[in-house]
């Protein structure tokens, strides 16, 4: 017959668990990392001089100077207005002469649509503050995201995030995220 084993006291179990809890509270962080995702162009030793010229109307030039001021298409602008201007540029709803041309192409789900040839060109000074640079990038990415969202709502009646992969790709094809960053110039001095 087995002898009765005395019960192990479990009074200290709580203390042990507390110790573990406090250890994890101290050594871990809860913040989710998020940010603006971008792709850099591959490194080239020499810039090819023979690139075909891009028409003036197809480029949306955004300049940021060392005092964090914006010059958009030759006009001084506040950050708050940038998104609307970028949207107008990329969509060109009225087919205006001074906004980018469209290339007519067959797109799945949509049939033949005009896809903008517009490119957003962002150029900053070396003295620009990083915060401003991110804010400008955010507005430009936001403009394209809003256009995609609107198109998804109009066509499929759903938010862009809820579309299937093929549908998303079709919308992406109509509003491509073409943001090019020029090599910065040091204009203002330090």
């Amino acid at each position: 017959m087995a002898r009765k084993v005395p019960e192990i006291p479990s009074a200290s179990l709580a203390d042990i668990a507390f110790m573990l809890l406090i250890f994890f509270l101290v050594t871990t962080t809860m913040d989710v990392d998020s940010g603006l995702e971008r792709r850099l162009p591959p490194f080239v030793e020499e810039i090819d001089q023979d690139t075909p010229p891009i028409k003036e109307r197809n480029v949306f030039i955004v300049l940021v100077n060392r005092d964090n001021q914006l010059l958009v298409e030759g006009e001084w602008m506040q950050l708050g207005e940038l998104r609307e201007r970028a949207k107008e540029f990329m969509a060109n709803p009225l087919d205006r002469e001074d906004l980018p041309e469209k290339e007519y192409k067959e797109v799945e789900f949509f049939g033949e649509v005009g896809i903008t040839k517009g490119v957003i060109s962002l150029q900053n000074d070396l003295g620009t503050q990083y915060g401003t640079y991110i804010a400008v990038q955010n507005e430009l990415v936001g403009a394209i995201n809003e256009l995609r969202e609107d198109l998804a709502k109009a066509k499929f009646g759903k938010s862009f995030a809820n579309l299937s992969r093929d549908e998303q790709n079709a919308v992406r094809e109509i509003y491509p995220q073409r943001i090019s960053e020029a090599e910065p110039k040091k204009v203002g001095g330090q």
Partner: protein, 157 residues
């Protein structure tokens, strides 16, 4: 003098603490699941910029971090007050990034290398000069997929 109460008869029984470990374990598991280990000790001051169009970094194991900012007070005597680059647990030069990326790549599975992301955690008040140099180094290292780390900003309408 008279007695107010009879002693002993209607005293509250002590609350049982038998379930305390279970409660604490529950908390423990919650924190173990929802948090991540802190990988490096920040040696630079960081106020991340805020933005609205954010992408979440999905796989933490594929992310390498580059921190940029003004060194904390205790390092300022040695490293100055200009924004510096921090890789892992030490200050580094911009030219060290190439080696850092190579080491990071070697630490990963070969199949996962194309999906690696470099997260730039840069202080809001840094000038673009240093960021531009870092980007140039990353292009040389062919680490083209980057993520400018930012906080979520409340949407404004």
């Amino acid at each position: 003098m008279h007695k107010f109460k009879k002693k002993g008869s209607n005293e509250l029984p002590p609350i049982s603490t038998a379930s305390l470990p279970d409660i604490v374990f529950m908390l423990l598991f919650f924190f173990m699941v929802s948090t991540t280990m802190r990988e490096v000790t920040l040696m630079v001051r960081q106020t991340l910029p805020s933005a609205t169009e954010l992408n979440k970094l999905e796989k933490k194991s594929l992310v390498s971090y580059i921190y940029v900012g003004v060194p904390h007070q205790q390092y300022q005597r040695a490293f100055g007050t200009e924004p510096r680059v921090q890789l892992n647990d030490q200050f580094a030069e911009v030219t060290d990034i190439l080696d850092y990326i190579i080491v990071e790549r070697q630490a990963r599975n070969e199949a996962e290398v194309p999906f690696m992301i470099t997260s730039l955690k840069v202080d809001e008040y840094t000038r673009m000069q240093i960021v531009q140099d870092i980007k140039q180094e990353l292009r040389k290292a062919a680490a083209l997929h980057i993520n400018y780390s930012a906080r979520r900003k409340a949407e404004h309408y």
